[in-house]
Every structure is written in C-alpha cells, then in structure tokens.
C-alpha cells in the first residue's frame, strides 16, 4: 500500500524552507520479503496514512545499488524526508552516501532497524536513527535461554552427559543485530549457567571453527535454517547419543524453519519431546508456536513501537521543527541522535 | 482432357515483403500422373507447394482438391486431407529414431493416450518392406547418411496414403541407384492413382518420369505441356526465356605445372582411407564415386574441416598442414560445402555480410576499421557476376531461393581469390541456366591459373568440364581417368572397386 500522491511539488533547492512545505516522504525498505520488516511496514503505512502524509514506499530487494538509485530518484522527485532501512550494514559508506544525497538536497533523513554508525548520524544535523539496542536482544535472549535451561536442565540434556549441545542460526554476516545476537545469545546464557555451577553450552559440532550457521543469502530465512537443520538431524540424533539439545536463532523466521525440520524428525509437535528453540522478533506465527508448546521463547521487537517512534520524528518535521525535538520520552543515546526502542521477552501467554 | 483433375491450383498469388514470389500461377494435376514443375532458381516452385501444403498462406487464388475447394491453414490439415510432401530441405528430428520420425504427428495409440511401439514397429517394417527400404527403424536419425535420411523422408510421405504427393527436389542427395529406387516407388504410386508433383532441376529425370510439365519463370506460369512433346532444349528455352544451345561452355583452359600434391591422405574420424593425387595449375579435377565413398572427405580433409589421420599436402613443393579451415584459407584454399543450409549460409544476416565474411581482411582500412564502401563494391560485383536474384544487398540471405543462396556462397569464395578451389556439389539444386554460368565461372577460374577440384554426383557434368576425374570407392582412391576419353561405364566400374 502507498499514500495518495502529492499534487503540489515542494521545491528541493532551498535548505530551510522544507519545514513549511507539505511533506513528501520516501520510505526505503531493505527487502519487502522480510517478514519482520513487513510488520514494520504495515504499522508505518497505517500511521503515515493516519497522519495524512504523502509518502512513497520503495523495495530495495536486498540490493544496495537498487536502493541507492531509488534514493536518488526520490530526491529528484522532490522528496523532502527520507526514511531509510539501509541494505548494506557492514560498512558505513552506503549510509554515508545516502546522507550526502540528503545533505545536498537539504532534507532530513531517518535510518531505522538496520543500524548505521554514530559517525554517519553525526555527519549531518538532520539525521537520526531509530532502532533497537542491538546487543540488548542478544543479552535478553541469552538471559532467557540460561534461565530456561536452569529450570529444565535434565529434560533438555537428552543424553545426560551434563552438557547442553546447541546450534546457533545467524541471519546475515556483517549485520550489527545479527552479530550481537549471535555473540550474546550464547555468552549471556553461559554466564547464567556458570553462575549456577553448570558447564557452558557446547556447540553441536566441536570441530567447527565458526560457532554458528549463517544464511548465506543474508535473508534471515526459514528455508536456510530448515535446510541446515534437516542436514544436521540425521547425523546428530538421540540414537547416536549426540542430539542437538538447544537451538538459538537470530530471528523467528529461522526459528520456524528449524522447528519445522525438528517436526520432520518427530520433535516439537506440541506433545512428546521438544527441543527448545529460541528466536527474536515475536512475530505472530512464532508467538503461536510458543503458545502451542512447539517453540520455547522469543524476544519481542516492537514493530509498532518502531513505527510510532519514527512517526514521532516525522511529525516534528511536519510541524516545522527539528527531527529530535520531541524525543525526551524516548531512550536516546548520548551524543548521537539514535533512539532505541526497547525489546521485551516473550515466552507465551 | 483425359481425366478429371485431382488437384487444381488457380491463379495463386503470394507476396513477401518486397518480393512477389507467385503471380497468378495455375497448376492442374491428374490422378495417376506425374506432373513436373520446372523453373529457374527462385521461380517460385517451392513457394507454390508451400502454399498448397499450408506452410504459407496464399494472398489470392483458389485450390480445389478432389472437387472441393480447400485452403489449408497448417501442414496437419494438408496431411489429413491427403496431401503429403517431401521438402526441399531435410526437416527431421535428428535426435529421435527413424520410427519416431516416420510416425511423428500420427503416432498409433492404445488406450487413448499410450503410443503403441509394437504397432509402430510393425507398420514401419511393412512400409519399408513394401518400398524396399533398408534402414533400421530404431536407428537414431543423426547416425544415418543423408541419402538414407532422404529415403526415410520419401517413405514417410508415401506412408500417408495421400492423394497428392509433392517431391521437392528429392534426388539432390540421392545416388543413382537410389534415384532408380525412387522412380520405382513413384511408378507404384502412379498405379495407385496418386497425383504426383515432382520438382527437379535434372532434365533427364523430368523427361523420364513425368507425364506433364509446368514451367514457371519469375513467379509466373509460362507453359504446361505433355512431357512426350517436349525436348530438353525446349524446356530450357521456356525456363530461361532464351535459347541455350550448349549445356557446357567451351573448354579452353590449359592445365600447367603441378601446384598441389596430396599423398596418402586419410581421415582420423571419417572413412577416408587413402587418397593420393596431384592438381595442376589451370586444371579442373573432378572427383566421382558413389555416395559414402569418401568424396566429401577428400575435400574436407584437404581443407582442414575434418581431422586428418595421416598424409602429406604439398603446395608448390612446400609442405603445408591445413589443420583448420582458417589455415587452409591463408594457404589459398577455398571450399564450397555440400550442405548449404547447415554449413554455408548465415541465414539471418544480409547478402553483403554473407558475401564478404571470408575476405574481411582486405577491407581493413588503417589496419582495423572495415570499409563499408569496399564491401559494398565487392558484393555488387558478386551479385552481377553471378546474376544473383535479390532485391538488395541488405536482404537476408534466407529469403533467397536455394540456388541464389548457392551463388552468394560461390561469390564469397571467389572474393578470397583462392589458388585452389574445392567445390562439393557446386550445382546441387541449381537450375540449368545458372549451372551454365557456374561452369563458365569454373572454367574462367581455371583459365586464370587456379586449380579446381570438384565433387559431383552428376556424371555428365564431370565429363563436361573436368580435365581429369578421380574415382573414389570405399574411402580409397580407386583410380584416375582422363575426362576426354573415358566413359560413364569406366567410372562406374572403378567406383564399385572397393564396395
């Protein structure tokens, strides 16, 4: 869905008069097919429509070149506010390019979800970032995993060797959220375990150099997790005494893919044995799996909250003010215009 | 006249962009007769037949088959209504078996959807037996020699039990024995009451087999006569529109010193076993032999288009390798191949590019930029020298008639100014008038001091313009005769030596 079209095109040449002109917003999503991002998009569409703002959505289709071209096109079409879910996150340059383009046009730019560096945000006074505190999801997930294990240690330890073997599914290489979740999801769980005198988690394949499996396509996809899991299961099984006992995923999509593969092997069907699977996002379908006992927990990433935070900045601009004018109630970083929408744990209703 | 017509085509007109291929042509075929269709290359014979067979939609005219007006929209319709055709260019599914090709489009079925292999095999055997064709029904088409593929095609056309069967130059790739075989089949069809349309450029065939002859020129009907009332000279006159007293131009070339010596040439993957011969400056050297005797292989091995196993080639006493066609061209060789469509023309490209492609180096200005002007000039030269019938230089070659395509390719090679010209069936599918022109060209080249080696299945042609004739048999050079004092019998005896 997309807003109605502007009839009156604001000038793009002036630097200061954007505040008074009608808003013409370009919203750039990194990939329409990403489920969590779709939920942000639904909320965003709803709220932008409610505000009566003219806006246009763009699908980067996971391709930075396409998104860069879209940003340039939007600017040449008189966009006077950019909301960008940048495709390339593993270096600041793509985001910096977008900022330069916005700067030249003198228009504000808000990044969201996929984090950009402080330097990028600080390089332009009309730039802000709305996202989460990437490590937070990892920390919360790790905490949740650790606590769950302490409570259910012996049930989880299927082979009774006193050690929990796990798999970690990473959504993408070089993405700040993915990196943090991959690291802290395990580290914090270990901290909880060791504090209680239990041994640390053991990666299911002791000889692997990387302690995670990653979606090579960078799409955080259920399919990737499913394919990996289906390949792991015949080799690591209860019969062999080396069954994977815990699955931690960077997001719910991957968790769902893993659950489906486990179901193929007779686990996680709601009754009978369940291998604990954890995700992030709290998508509707993941919440349902958790409520049905097929998945264990997730970290809620508040799509609606993210959208309303962004919209808060948009309305400041609409009212002729600056991006960060009315942000005192939010969780803002020190020294940089970055707003953090909090996560919450979810283990069922 | 004698019997009611089986097929009547009246005032058929067909236009292609820029060409009026047929202009009010009429043709009447009676049951139990052979109606020959003759005309120069590009006269419109094949086009007329394609209009009948539902391949082209005619622009005007009527077709009456068995008293009913018809206008077939597809070949399927034509076949279902008793019209079958052997096409000028072989059209077969080469990766499939003989049997699959024979029954393509009308597989015998069981239980409504299954193809019955056993019925297919049985019927194939019946037809092959009836027609005395000896081909393995299960053989994959691509493994058969061209002549056998042609016989399969003929058997297929016959097997439709059609009322009208069109043969568009069926003998251009058949041996003499197979031609006789075909004639027996045609006589049998006549007895059954079929009407047969027979297109060929071979006069003797026409006079032998046909009852009536229709002659076309430039897309127009010229005459229809009883064959028994016609002579070769008359046919030629009607076709060409002028008198053509001699079929061969006067031979005034003078063979000089030896330029090319070939010793024990043998092919690596092909059946050429042993051939040694010499070629003189200004000489026309013929190669005769039965189909499959290795004539084509001699030329293609010499030219590097096939891989040699052994043998030496010396040009002016110096040994050369000719490993690839490119190398051969550099050494002053040129080869006109046997299968025009497969290895000759660049169908989708225009006449100009088809003409200059082997000679590009000589159009380079400043070493790297091709000069359009020079290419145009040379193409014009070729069009005029060969009397190529084409609307313009920028016409796609595939829209020319077969004979005119052939002339373009000869032009291509002449432009490279070769010293040794290898011609494989140079007049295949070419009309009498054009043949004469090509003979003239060959002799002119010889007079200029070039050496020409020419493979042909037409004995009179070899006897008419060659100085010496080599005879191949079973992949071996069986002998050599002097064209001036030999006979067809002598050549045939040699050709049978190793079979």
């Amino acid at each position: 869905g997309c807003g109605s079209k502007t009839t009156e095109q604001p000038s793009t040449s002036g630097t200061e008069n954007t505040e008074t002109a009608a808003l013409n917003v370009g919203v750039f999503y990194y990939d329409y097919s990403d489920v969590y991002i779709s939920s942000v998009r639904s909320s965003m569409d709803e709220q932008l429509k409610a505000m009566g703002v003219n806006y246009t959505n763009y699908d980067g289709a996971g391709n930075q070149a396409q998104q860069t071209d879209q940003i340039n096109t939007a600017i040449s079409n008189g966009a006077n506010l950019l909301i960008v879910n940048i495709v390339e996150t593993s270096s600041p340059d793509a985001a910096q390019n977008a900022v330069e383009a916005a700067k030249t046009a003198g228009i504000p730019i808000i990044f969201f979800n996929r984090e950009v560096s402080d330097d990028v945000v600080n390089s332009y006074e009309k730039c802000a970032f709305v996202g989460t505190n990437a490590p937070e999801a990892g920390h919360m997930q790790g905490q949740m995993v650790g606590e769950y294990l302490l409570e259910n240690y012996d049930t989880v330890d299927l082979n009774g060797d006193g050690v929990i073997s796990y798999v970690m599914f990473k959504g993408q290489e070089g993405n700040a959220e993915a990196e943090a979740r991959t690291q802290f999801g395990v580290e914090d769980a270990n901290a909880v375990l060791t504090a209680a005198g239990k041994p640390e988690l053991a990666y299911y394949n002791a000889s692997a150099t990387d302690k995670y499996l990653v979606d090579q396509g960078g799409k955080w996809s259920a399919q990737a997790a499913n394919d990996y899991m289906a390949t792991i299961l015949p080799e690591y099984s209860e019969a062999n005494g080396n069954m994977v006992e815990l699955i931690i995923c960077n997001n719910d999509g991957m968790a769902e893919g893993a659950v489906s593969a486990l179901q193929g092997a007779g686990y996680n069907t709601g009754d009978g044995k369940t291998i604990p699977v954890f995700g992030v996002d709290a998508t509707d379908s993941a919440k349902q799996l958790i409520n049905e006992g097929k998945m264990t927990g997730t970290i809620k990433q508040d799509a609606e909250g993210m959208a309303s935070t962004i919209l808060n900045l948009v309305s400041s601009v609409q009212g002729g003010g600056n991006l960060m004018d009315n942000t005192s109630s939010f969780n803002v970083d020190e020294g940089v215009a970055k707003i953090r929408v909090p996560y919450a744990t979810y283990t069922g209703e | 006249m004698e019997q009611p017509a089986l097929l009547e085509m009246r005032n058929i007109t067909k236009e292609f962009p820029g060409v009026k291929a047929l202009d009010g042509v009429s043709l009447t075929v009676r049951p139990g007769t052979v109606h020959a269709l003759m005309g120069e290359n590009g006269a419109g014979k094949s086009t007329l037949m394609k209009c009948l067979f539902g391949i082209y939609a005619k622009n005007a005219g009527t077709i009456v088959l068995d008293g009913k007006e018809v206008d077939f929209k597809s070949s399927k319709e034509a076949l279902e209504n008793g019209v079958a055709m052997v096409h000028q260019e072989l059209n077969q599914a080469l990766t499939r078996s003989v049997m699959d090709n024979l029954w393509l489009g009308r597989y015998p079925k069981v239980a409504g959807l299954m193809v019955s292999e056993s019925v297919m095999r049985k019927r194939t055997r019946e037809i092959f037996e009836e027609l005395d064709v000896h081909v393995d029904p299960k053989a994959i088409m691509s493994t058969l020699p061209v002549s056998q593929r042609q016989m399969v095609e003929i058997a297929k056309a016959v097997s439709y039990n059609a009322k009208i069967i069109v043969f568009d130059e069926p003998t251009s790739s058949l041996t003499e024995a197979e031609v006789e075989h075909l004639f027996r089949i045609i006589n049998m069809l006549k007895e059954r009451g079929c009407g047969i349309i027979y297109i060929s450029h071979k006069m003797d065939e026409i006079l032998r087999i046909s009852d009536e002859v229709t002659i076309m020129r430039d897309g127009q009907w010229v005459a229809t006569r009883h064959a028994k009332d016609l002579t070769m000279e008359e046919i030629i006159k009607l076709m060409v529109g002028r008198e053509l007293t001699n079929r061969f131009p006067p031979k005034d070339n003078k063979p000089g010193e030896v330029i090319l010596e070939v010793e024990h040439l043998a092919g690596k993957y092909t059946r050429l076993k042993d051939a040694s011969f010499q070629l003189r400056k200004g000489e026309v050297l013929g190669i005769a032999g039965l189909d499959g005797s290795g004539r084509t292989e001699v030329l293609e091995n010499l030219f590097g288009a096939m891989t040699k196993e052994s043998g030496t080639i010396r040009l002016h006493g110096k040994e050369i390798k000719n490993k690839t066609p490119r190398e051969a061209i550099k050494n002053g060789f040129a080869l006109l191949t046997e299968e025009r469509r497969a290895t000759g023309i660049f169908g989708i490209r225009d006449i100009k590019e088809n003409t200059v492609i082997s000679n590009l180096k000589s159009y380079l200005a400043g070493g790297f930029c091709l000069s359009d002007k020079k290419m145009k000039e040379d193409t014009d030269w070729a069009i005029q020298a060969m009397h190529i019938k084409t609307p313009s230089q920028s016409t796609q070659i595939r829209s020319l008639s077969g004979g005119n395509q052939q002339k373009v390719i000869i032009g291509r090679w002449l432009l490279t100014k070769p010293e040794v010209l290898l011609l494989d069936e140079p007049t295949r599918g070419i009309d009498v008038g054009a043949k004469y022109e090509i003979y003239q060209l060959i002799l002119d080249l010889a007079k200029e001091g070039k050496g020409v080696i020419m493979v042909s299945s037409e004995m009179p042609e070899l006897l008419g313009i060659c100085d010496r004739i080599l005879v191949m048999s079973g992949g071996v050079l069986a002998g050599e005769v002097d064209a001036r004092n030999t006979s067809q019998e002598e050549i045939l005896t040699l050709a049978a030596k190793y079979v």
Partner: protein, 361 residues
C-alpha cells in the same frame, strides 16, 4: 504375421546382444565405458570417501535424509526438464513454487487458532482440493509462459524472466491479504503437515516422510508421459526440430503450452509440499529453486541442445546435488567452498556429458 515378426525381432535383439558381448575388451572400449558412466563412478567414489570420513553418512537416518531432500526437489526438476528438452528454460519456477506454497499454506491453516489465520472465513479446506488447486495454479502459470513462447516465438529465458517478476508482485500482494499483513504464513493444520511430513513406513527406525512416496509416484507418472505418450514423443520431436514437427502435423502450440503447463503443475505440487515442509511461508519462499532444478537436469544429461533427456538422468542429477549438499557438510567442507564445488561439478558433469554428442570430424 505378427507372431513371425516378433520372432524376427527377438532374433535381432539376441544377435545385437551377442554382438555386444563378442566385442573385445580393448582399452578404448573400457575407456569409453568409464567415461560414459563417469558421473555415476564419481558419485560412487564420493559416497565411499564421505562414508569413510564420516560413518554417519551411510546410517539409515542420513540416507533417508538424502532421500527426503531428493524427493522435495525432484518434482520441480522433472517439470523444468521438459522445458529444457524444448531448448528452453524456466526462470519462473521458484516464484511459482513460492506462490503455490503460500496459497496452499493459507488454505490449510489451523482453524483452531483464528487470530493467526489468513482467511478466517474460509476454514480449512480438504487436502485433495488444495493439491488440485495448487497444481492448477501452477499449470495456469505454465500456460501463460507457454503461450508467449509458442505464440510469439519468444525465447523461454525472457518470457519466464518476465513471468518471474510478475509473480513476485503477486506473491508480495498475496502475503499481505486477509489477516496476514505480510507475516509468514504458518499455523498449519495438523492434517496438512501430517499428510506431507507424516510417514507410513520407516526404515531402521527412521520414518520415511510421505512426500517421498509422492515423489516416487510423480516420477513414475512423468516417466510414462515422457516415454509412452504421444505428448512425450511430440515434445522430444519438437525440441529436436520444431520445423520438422510442424510440417509433420504436430500441434506445436499445444505441445509447447502443454510442456510448460505440466512443468507448472509440478511447481504447484512442489509448492504444496514445501508449504508444509518449511512450515513458514513468505514472499521469499521458493527463491532460486529454478537454478538447482535446471542444474540437476543438465547434470543428468538433459541438454539445452533440445530433444535429449531422460527421467533417470534428472533423478541422478537431483541426487547428485543433494549428495553435494549433505556430503560436503558431513566431511566438514566450509560453507563458502560449497558453491565452488557445486559450480565445478556442474561444469565438469556437463563437459563430460557433452562428449557424447560431439561429432568428431
């Protein structure tokens, strides 16, 4: 006479066989046999090597895993194989799988949980209805492709590239419909997942999922279609020489559309299976399925030259790709290298296969 003939045939057969047996075992002949079966030989060597490096590889559970994965990817490959026989290809296969997966899943959601149901008003449809629907939708997509290929003589590459894009829009819009709002379509009805992933048999204690059975049935059907029906024979003739087929009265248009439609029906079936197998259906589902399917066909000897290919080859091709996928993981080859190995095997297999068709002159 019929009887007589049969004896004649048998005789020739016997003679042929004898001739074959009588052939001397020259080095040339041994070499030829090795080369002609090189792919199978390499596959065997690889299996032995992997099994030695990691004995788990040949335990029943692992073999059944390979079997299951093969079964999951086979139908799409069988479908696309026909397109390749017609000298074509089909880039829209992946998206077709995606759409039919999403549609199947959305029609087979658990009615017990209305909140997460895309179409609460529809309820859970009977499984056969959904299978037929998915296959019909796939076939319709195929008809569209076939129509453009046959009617306008367009190359299938470009037609199916266009279709791929069109289908992506359809997919993006579909997942936003009803209650779904772009979320993953899951909450599948147990009857659906049971039907697909459940099992009737098990070997060595490991259950064999039902979709393996389905794949076997489909393979048999496709073998029959390719080898025993008019349609199949026409398809090969058309792929080998369109003009020849046309002048022999083959309905070129019909056969082309039919081949693409059949392929589409196969994608539809794949979508139905994948919907339950992956369990989470998004606009991403099916992405790039066509590449593996095409690769499998070509590895198995279905040639882009047209008119050449065997069902057996396609099965071998799919197994081969799954062996690469599973085997490389089992011997611990890093993920990064897997693409290289897959690419190299494609090149190698095809170069090897092409030898057979190269006419040496």
């Amino acid at each position: 006479m019929c009887k007589e003939e049969r004896t004649v045939n048998q005789e020739t057969n016997v003679q042929e066989k004898e001739a074959r047996v009588r052939q001397p075992w020259t080095a040339q002949r041994v070499g030829d046999i090795l080369l002609n079966n090189a792919l199978l030989i390499i596959m065997a060597i690889a299996v032995v090597y992997i099994a030695i490096k990691n004995p788990n590889f040949i335990k029943p559970a692992s073999l059944i895993n390979i079997l299951s994965q093969t079964a999951a990817y086979l139908p799409a490959a069988l479908g696309i194989g026909g397109c390749i026989v017609l000298t074509g290809t089909d880039l829209s296969a992946g998206r077709a799988v995606g759409i039919t997966a999403c549609i199947s899943a959305s029609l087979l959601q658990n009615a017990a949980n209305m909140a997460n149901k895309m179409w609460p008003q529809i309820g859970t449809l009977p499984i056969p209805v959904v299978i037929v629907l998915a296959m019909l939708i796939g076939a319709a997509i195929g008809c569209f492709n076939g129509f453009f290929v046959a009617k306008f003589k367009l190359h299938p590459f470009i037609v199916t590239l266009g279709t791929q894009l069109i289908l992506y829009t359809v997919l993006l819009l579909y997942v936003q419909q009803g209650n779904n709002k772009g979320m993953a379509i899951s909450n599948l009805d147990p009857s659906y997942t049971g039907f697909v992933k459940g099992s009737l048999f098990s070997i060595g204690g490991t259950p064999i999922p039902n979709y393996v059975l389905f794949a076997i049935v489909l393979t048999a059907v496709m073998w029959f279609v390719w080898n025993k029906t008019t349609f199949g024979k026409n398809m090969f003739a058309l792929g080998s020489n369109e003009e020849a087929a046309r002048v022999s009265g083959v309905n070129v248009f019909g056969v082309t559309v039919g081949v693409f439609a059949l392929a589409g029906a196969m994608y539809g079936f794949t979508g139905f299976i994948e919907g339950a197998r992956i369990g989470s259906n998004t606009a991403n589902t099916g992405l790039n399925y066509e590449l593996d399917a095409i690769a499998a066909c070509v590895i198995g000897g279905v040639s882009f030259v047209g008119g050449i290919g065997k069902i057996r080859g396609i099965v071998i091709g799919v197994v081969m790709l799954r062996l690469i996928f599973v085997g490389l993981t089992m011997v611990g080859v890093p993920q990064d290298l897997q693409y290289l190995i897959k690419g190299a095997i494609i090149l190698f297999a095809c170069a090897l296969d092409m030898r057979k068709y190269l006419v040496k002159k």
